[in-house]
Amino acid sequence: MKKNRIVAGLLAAVVSLSVLGGCGKTSEAPVKESEESTQSTDNGGEIALRMAWWGNDSRHQATLDAIKSYTDANPGVSVKSEYNGFASYQEKVTTQLAGNTEPTIMQVNYDWFPIFSRTGVGFYDIYQLKDYIDLSQYDEEFLKLGEIEGKLNGIPLGKNTLTLIVNKSVYDELGVQIPKTWDDFVAAAEKFPEGSYPLVVEPRLIIYIYLQQKTGKSLLTQDNQLNYSEVDYVDGLKWYKDMVDKGVFGTREDYLENVGSTYSSLAQNQKFIDGQYAGTMEWSGALDAYKQTLESEGQELAIVPMPQIEGSKVSGTISKPNMFFTISKNAEKPEEAAKLINHLLNDPEGVKLMALSRGIPASKVAAKTLEEAGMAVGIVKEATDLGEQIVSLPQMPNYDNTIITETFRQYDEAFELGQMSLEDAAKAIYTEITDALSTLN
């Protein structure tokens, strides 16, 4: 009897839940106009936009300046900037999207698209705004990466390419040539003292590059199916572990002790500064920090083209769009948001102020403007150019999905620490990623 009453109570709760429309999520309900509302409000003829991004001081300053140059030229427009560090930016944005209070313009990551806009209606379709944003400045294929089911959810700002970098000064000191092939790396590793490694890389990424070269395919198919087999995973993990045993890649124990359990930037890590981590692999857009760190130690950073494995089917590495600007689906005057984005991305005035704060711009006119102004210089430019020369397969946004990356990380760690056999780890990775993908579709 009592049991029945509990079940009835639960059902009643659930009914009221569905009445609430998904638990307080009143996506259809109009949001009241308020300071926090996402709408570009119209108070006394003034158009108020909100724009959010994450970054460091130099990105904040550059963006604020570029926005100011727009509002100076358009006195009827005011822009409220909501910028922060990367910590918890995603959580904040998620909460805002769940409450329909998101800013008019938002900087988002590639892998957030399947979460925030599974069917393409989570953000405003920018194709509708092509009169206000010059989309012809973008390579058609590249722009399409922002497309979900035919709707342009975001404008990709630039391209990120996984790039190998090494501390040249360490090699000079050891009297070793900078390696070009994996064999070179193995040979170089023999000269490294204990606790020092030629490369410290995230296993998932380097294994995916290995598997991409081996199979000629990227991780996921267009419809989010896994391209690699269990055997591929066995092969990849084995290759990685072999390189660890030969001293090329740092050991898991060393990484745990000196960096952490999850993968993070090494740019300000003690062992990287000291030259004990003599190289790593990083997205091209994030290389500046490494260069600055080594420069202040009087050391030199060098880019190494990604080595090819024997019988490689596809040259090169992995690339993806670095980040996107999106427009809120609740925006009242999306064309005003579009105009501002156009100023920041395609107008020479805005472009020069934005400079390289978000990598080398994908916009052709922006790239040209910076080139002509002599502003497109430095390591990020170098890596981007290198990335342009090689074939890289397009990656699906779910490539970086947290469940998938975390699954890989967990079993790779267990394997590397000897808690799981190679076969078991590969099997677990394969089956669990396949499972996760089925729930994501």
């Binding site: 638990c23 307080g24 999520k25 949001v31 009241k32 308020s34 300071e35 926090e36 909100r50 959010a52 994450w54 970054g55 460091n56 001081d57 130099s58 990105r59 904040h60 300053q61 604020l64 409220k80 900037s81 909501e82 910028y83 922060n84 560090g85 990367f86 910590a87 918890s88 959580e91 904040k92 909460t95 805002q96 769940a98 409450g99 329909n100 209070t101 800013p103 993070s264 930037s265 740019a267 300000q268 890590n269 003690q270 500064i273 000291d274 997205w283 857009g285 994030a286 500046d288 920090a289 600055q292 760190t293 202040s296 130690e297 704060s357 978000r358």
Partner: protein, 284 residues
């Protein structure tokens, strides 16, 4: 006589040595932070020594100015606009609620007390979203109201529970005597019980102050205008190592300054904890 004097001195010395050793372990992080705030960014991670290679206040000056539209003066001012009302509301409302629970009998008291305790069992991660939606409905987002208002209703069970425990350690005789003298129940609280509660209330002030100063998630979710950011958010607003190096020395310098208000408060609150037991009062 001589022997016991020596013993006393040895005891005394040992006690101080232990206290100093523990104090060093406790203080080391603070010393490290101060020293790191004077180092350059690489040295923070590589040099073990506490002594900075130069006494250079650049990181303090630059950190205070920030790379944003506002300086830390704004952020500190904002923090106090949140923290001070929170402390006042919390103390008043929690004391009153605790008094109700500790000194009165009423129906459903046990059930309500259980509810009070149980409110602490669910992680805040889970309750944050419904509350966010609630505040959206009544148009209070991007203001300090959602951060402060719950303290007006004694919603932090920690403080209520703590004060209940302290009130229950005060004998009832005092209340009864006061009732005979014609005090009403509110006067009993203010005139009889409050003086005895002073140390407990002072600890509540310190806790609420320190915790509100450090609160990051609350302001992060509710505040979106940079001009309204408190210090806890401002400290992290330039940390993003994908867009360049993080100026850790500036961040640490500002952290050191952000600790000072709490430290000063704690230090000056000492006079509420002075009753103490005289060292000679108990045999060694």
């Amino acid at each position: 006589m001589q022997k016991s004097m020596i013993k006393k001195h040895v005891n005394y010395t040992i006690r101080y040595l232990v206290l100093l050793l523990v104090a060093f372990v406790m203080l080391y992080p603070m010393l490290w932070l101060i020293s790191a705030s004077f180092k350059d960014n690489n040295a923070i991670f590589t040099s073990i020594g506490l002594w900075p290679n130069k006494l250079d206040f650049t990181s303090y000056v630059k950190g205070w100015q920030t790379g944003t539209e506002f300086t830390f003066s704004t952020y500190f001012f904002n923090t106090f606009k949140i923290v001070i009302p929170k402390v006042i509301f919390c103390i008043v409302s929690s004391t009153i609620t605790a008094y109700g629970f500790a000194r009165f009998d009423f129906r459903f008291k046990k059930a309500l007390f259980s509810l009070l305790i149980a409110t602490m069992f669910l992680p805040q991660v889970i309750t944050r979203l419904p509350l966010y939606l609630l505040w959206r409905q009544i148009d209070m987002l991007d203001s300090y109201v959602p951060l402060v208002i719950n303290t007006l209703f004694a919603q932090e069970a920690f403080f209520v529970f703590m004060l209940i425990q302290f009130l229950r350690s005060i004998p009832m005789d005092l209340d009864e005597a006061a009732t005979i003298d014609g005090c009403n129940s509110f006067q009993i609280l203010t005139k009889i019980l409050l003086p005895s509660l002073k140390p407990a209330i002072m600890s509540c002030v310190i806790f609420q102050f320190v915790w509100s100063m450090n609160d990051f998630m609350g302001p992060l979710i509710y505040i979106s205008s940079v001009e309204k950011y408190p210090v806890s958010i401002a400290l992290k607003m330039s940390i993003d190592n994908t867009s360049g190096i993080v100026a850790w020395n500036q961040m640490i310098a500002m952290s050191v300054i952000a600790i000072l208000p709490s430290l000063i408060l704690f230090f000056s609150a000492q006079k509420f904890f002075v009753q103490g037991v005289t060292s000679s009062g108990i045999k060694g």
